[in-house]
């Protein structure tokens, strides 16, 4: 079955530390990949997405993610985190299967950035 794995459930970092959140998916076909973020008290919103072209995708607030097809991975990175990055981050995969779309989200990673 298709799945998305986020390896870290809770991450605590100090400001200015570098961040990498892992995401692996299992699906052999063409996929679209997303990272969504939910800041405290706010709605889920898109951070960045990949659907074709350059596998290194840049998103809002200095985040980026790299699609490595051979590793079925789409890890999220930020060189220097800020306190305001404290949030829950979800990796998601969209794949077309038998004429319909499947949307699969990971279990999320809660990031806490210490000021």
């Amino acid at each position: 079955a298709q799945s998305v794995s986020q390896h870290n459930h809770h991450v605590i970092l100090s400001e200015a530390a570098s961040l990498e959140l892992g995401c692996n998916y299992s699906y052999g076909g063409t996929v679209n990949l997303f990272w969504y973020v939910q800041y405290p008290g706010q709605h889920l919103q898109l951070l960045l997405k990949y659907f074709s072209g350059d596998p290194l995708v840049k998103g809002i607030k200095g985040f980026e993610a790299e699609f490595i097809k051979s590793k079925f991975s789409f890890n999220l990175r930020k060189p220097s985190v800020q306190w305001s990055d404290t949030a829950e981050y979800f990796c998601a995969v969209n794949a077309r299967d038998s004429g319909t779309y499947k949307y699969i989200f990971g279990t999320g990673t809660r990031l806490k950035v210490l000021a």
Binding site: L44, Q45, F51, F105, G106, G108
Partner: protein
């Protein structure tokens, strides 16, 4: 409207009762999605609509769950004979069209508690 809205924001019900959750997508968005977010479980995809049609209902957890969309706009998710395991946050999202790389815009969710 400016964003996706959902009502009610909170719902407490007794086991065995039926509940109806409502979603108002962004005006003009043809695709609409329902998810369930349980503690520690990530987002579970339930169903999507393209216009008023739901091509794939296999994500609905049981036959107690049903959803409809009328006029290509408002959608309702109905849970019959609620069970305690139905307690979760139910999220709705919409996108301008149904395509793999489209960004989904999420509503604030309905927090359902079944006693």
């Amino acid at each position: 409207g400016a964003g996706v809205s959902q009502s009610p924001s909170n719902k407490v019900t007794e086991k065995g009762k039926d509940v109806e959750l409502r979603c108002d997508p962004i005006s003009g968005h043809t695709a609409l999605y329902w998810y369930r977010q349980s503690l520690g479980q990530g987002l579970e995809f339930l169903i999507y609509f393209q216009g008023n049609s739901a091509p794939d209902k296999s994500g609905l957890p049981s036959d107690r769950f049903s959803a409809e969309r009328t006029g290509g706009s408002v959608s309702t998710l109905t849970i019959q004979r609620t069970q305690q395991e139905d307690s979760a946050v139910y999220l709705c999202a919409s996108s301008s069209r149904l395509a793999g790389a489209e960004t989904q815009y999420f509503g604030p969710g309905t927090r359902l508690l079944v006693l």
